[in-house]
Amino acid sequence: MFNYLIRRLYLLCITSIILTIIAFSIQHLTVGNTLDSNVFSQYLDYLISISQGELGVSALDNQPILKTALIAFISTLELCFFAFIFASIIGVPLGILAGLERNRGIDYSIMSIALIGLALPVFWVAIIFTMLPNLTGWVMPIDGNISVIYEVPMVTGIMLIDSLLVSEQYQLSAFYNHLVHIVLPATVLAIFLISEIIRLTRHSITMIMRSNYIKAAHTKGFSRPQIVYRHVLKNAIPPIIHQLRLQISTIISFAMAIEIVFSYQGAGMWLFVSIQQGDYLALSTAILIISGFILILSIIVDLLLVLISPTKRKVLYADQ
């Protein structure tokens, strides 16, 4: 297990070096360079400053850019997290149903729903959803992550926690208001996640239903719900998680596009505003932070898979 971890960390190192090269070249080309030293020494200086945590100062508000970027990105993650929970709650049961009733009516109708998520562009759906409150009469906010009436200081970046911190002033109304603001953007993101999850779940379930141990379970006289609950579910999860791990970057980029439409104060909005106003340092910072996060998350998910799925452990040992 430990050796596996070390191996993954080696890979992480190589990828992060490539990442810093990309971020450095963007910064070099846009923000400017000192012409008195050559590119390599500038690159080394850049690496040293990154490792100390100083990525520079934003041109817009003269604050250290790392802090702003982290706070913005955590908001995005908050949105992704909510969307993920919504999507799992809806998508996993639907996917299981589709996988079990393969090639029947229910399967086709569920897959049509899943195709919607593939076919529609993200920003279009988001824009339609901003008009939704007006069309349906359902009163929902479409802008920002909390109403402008509440003055909530960005302490941690996770608005849920920040809005609880001002509870002496507003009781719980700020927290509640934030929850309501999350619903629409999270629903839009969840639509796309749902189609992903339905497809992955259905595929995984189908593969497992064809496997031998399910046949054996049949012969032991279990009823289908029992088999699904006891054997199928636990074995279906690892492939799904593995595939989702590859989709994390897509999900984050969708989330950023949705944020721009809903003016939700996350990494997407921050990047958009920075680029509009000419602060290109945000680009390289965003690359470092977002890609770095995705890398680390991949490793964590891998470790998680190894923990929960005994078969993956076999892969580990076989390598030794």
Binding site: P93, W138, M140, V148, I149
Partner: protein
């Protein structure tokens, strides 16, 4: 499956959500641009005016919206000497400055503050004269600085303006947006802390709302003045939310996240006016969009040619296609509600066949190509310069005149104007004060160059004399006569062809009352009253 109830219950929670429109002591105003600064002395864009003139500051006098007369603001009363060269103002004694986390006033407003505020615009030795001032120095002090020679303090609550020459327009100038009163004490404090620039970005004034320090560029927060000297406002918290996208702005109005929006998309105005829940307010702004004929260019020196070209341009189509409903047709440079408007000045009609004849009779050289110059960026005069130019081009092509469209950016545009390398120029004029002199002088005066407004490059002793005399004229009737004459003459010469008088649109929720809109100085939210909104069922 058994988690579905959780999701639905979350959705139901949001059904109990009440929008901001139900909170009656907070007002949300959604504008389309962020203000350049918070001092209307140096920034003249609409967003700054909206945010500051009536909200943060007071002036010596203001114009009553109903009677259109000058009423007192900070100045209780005033006296004018017989030669109209000295104006004496007596100030109120109970005016408090804003008191917030970055400034605590130790005294009330007195003459020192007034003198400080005006001196900043006039006197070059003033410590704050050059602070934050960008290249538009022309706009900084031009109308005012030529007028006022000196401001004298008579006593703590009395000041006297000494004018260069006899002038009737001082009051109009003092009611304009740039005549706001700052706090000298605050300026001193900033000077000591070596933080002069802050005076325009963390403002202190005397108006009904005071600035909150935690505002950002996109979100400006005001709270009600803690010690107001006028009637306190019903709104305790005022928030300016900058939403550049016009569809989004309207959507926010519909979803209750904005109470008032400004500048809706022109194509949506008709739709908005049909909605029963909202009221659409349209105000003429005094801004005129026009086509300037370069009278110094070879082909356009003859006024008949200019007439012919003007009658070939279908202005109604331009109004419909480019402005939708955001403007009214203009035949005259002045708006029809101005006291100097001459209804009998010669009009221009759309007669393309006639123009062709006229041009042929006048031996116009059809082989040449006229240059139509326009800015690239859309401005308050025109949401789409290119479309306008295209329409003009096709109109002129039907009578056989060749044209080419050239769009330029700022610096190149200024260079081309100064060099005179243009035949037609798409522009507009935006007067600051209600005096017609403010409209005509930049267009026709010999001392005004192309960048300052005289893109027709017109210089005529007759017009100049009319302008200068009327400025000093004290007899009102004579002034009207003079301006009538001016209009007849200039419209006969057709140096400028007016296209549209621009309107300003604001949309607000029906539960808001007391909104005042002054086209020259911006929106006034002081007396706004907000009641809980009616639901759709209650309206029916």
């Amino acid at each position: 499956m058994r988690f579905l109830p959780i999701y639905f219950s979350l959705a139901f929670i949001s059904a109990c959500y009440q929008t901001e429109s139900t909170i009656t002591d907070t007002l949300l105003y959604c504008s389309d641009k962020a203000p350049h600064s918070f001092n209307p002395q140096i920034s003249h864009d609409v967003a700054t005016l909206d945010a500051t003139t009536h909200q943060l500051y007071n002036r010596l006098v203001k114009i009553d919206p109903i009677s259109q007369r000058f009423v007192s603001d900070i100045a209780l009363r005033w006296e004018v000497n017989s030669k109209k060269t000295e104006y004496t103002f007596y100030l109120r004694r109970d005016v408090n400055f804003h008191h917030n986390d970055y400034f605590t006033p130790s005294r009330q407003l007195n003459a020192e503050d007034v003198i400080f505020s005006f001196d900043r615009m006039l006197a070059k030795e003033h410590p704050f004269h050059l602070t934050n001032v960008v290249a538009e120095t022309y706009l900084y002090n031009h109308p005012f600085s030529n007028l006022v020679a000196d401001i004298v303090k008579v006593d703590d609550y009395t000041i006297r303006f000494m004018l260069n020459k006899s002038d009737a327009t001082l009051l109009a100038n003092l009611a304009a947006h740039y005549a706001v009163i700052h706090s000298k004490e605050y300026a001193q404090l900033l000077l000591e802390n070596d933080n002069k620039a802050q005076i325009d970005y963390l403002p202190i004034g005397t108006g009904p709302y005071q600035f909150k320090q935690n505002s950002t560029k996109r979100l400006i927060r005001f709270q009600a003045h803690t010690k107001p000297w006028e009637k306190p406002s019903n709104i305790k918290q005022l928030i300016f939310d900058v939403t550049p996208n016009s569809t989004k702005r309207y959507a926010k109005l519909l979803s209750g996240e904005c109470d008032i929006i400004t500048n809706p998309a022109p194509s949506q105005v008709k739709q908005i006016s049909k909605n029963e829940l909202f009221s659409l307010s349209s105000q003429p702004t005094g801004n005129v969009a026009l086509i300037a004929f370069n009278t110094k260019s070879k082909s356009l020196q003859n006024s008949d040619v200019r007439h012919a070209l003007s009658s070939a341009i279908d202005r109604q189509t331009i109004l419909d296609a480019v402005y939708f409903e955001n403007a009214t047709a203009a035949n005259n440079l002045l708006p029809s509600n101005s006291w100097a408007y001459n209804p009998r000045a010669p009009l221009v009609y759309y007669t393309p066949e006639h123009s062709r004849e006229k041009l042929q009779n006048g031996e116009f050289d059809f082989s040449q190509t006229l240059r139509i110059v326009a800015p690239i960026k859309s401005s308050i005069f025109n949401p789409n310069f290119y479309k306008t130019a295209e329409l003009i081009q096709s109109n002129l092509a039907t009578i056989g005149v060749n044209t080419e469209i050239i769009q330029l950016r700022n610096e190149e545009l200024n260079a081309t104007l100064m060099a005179g390398e243009y035949d037609l120029y798409l522009t507009g004029i935006s007067p600051y004060i209600k005096d017609p002199d403010n409209l005509f002088r930049p267009l026709f005066s010999c001392s005004s160059n192309q960048i300052e407004g005289n893109t027709g490059q017109w210089c005529d002793t007759k017009v100049q004399a009319l302008l200068d005399n009327t400025l000093l004229e004290t007899n009102f009737v004579q002034r009207v006569k003079n301006y009538y004459q001016l209009q007849e003459y200039t419209q006969d010469q057709l140096i400028y062809l007016p296209i549209a008088h621009l309107l300003r649109f604001d949309v607000f929720n029906n539960n808001i009352s007391g909104l005042q809109m002054n086209p020259l100085t911006g929106i006034d939210l002081h007396s706004v009253n907000k009641v809980p909104p009616l639901t759709k069922e209650q309206i029916k």
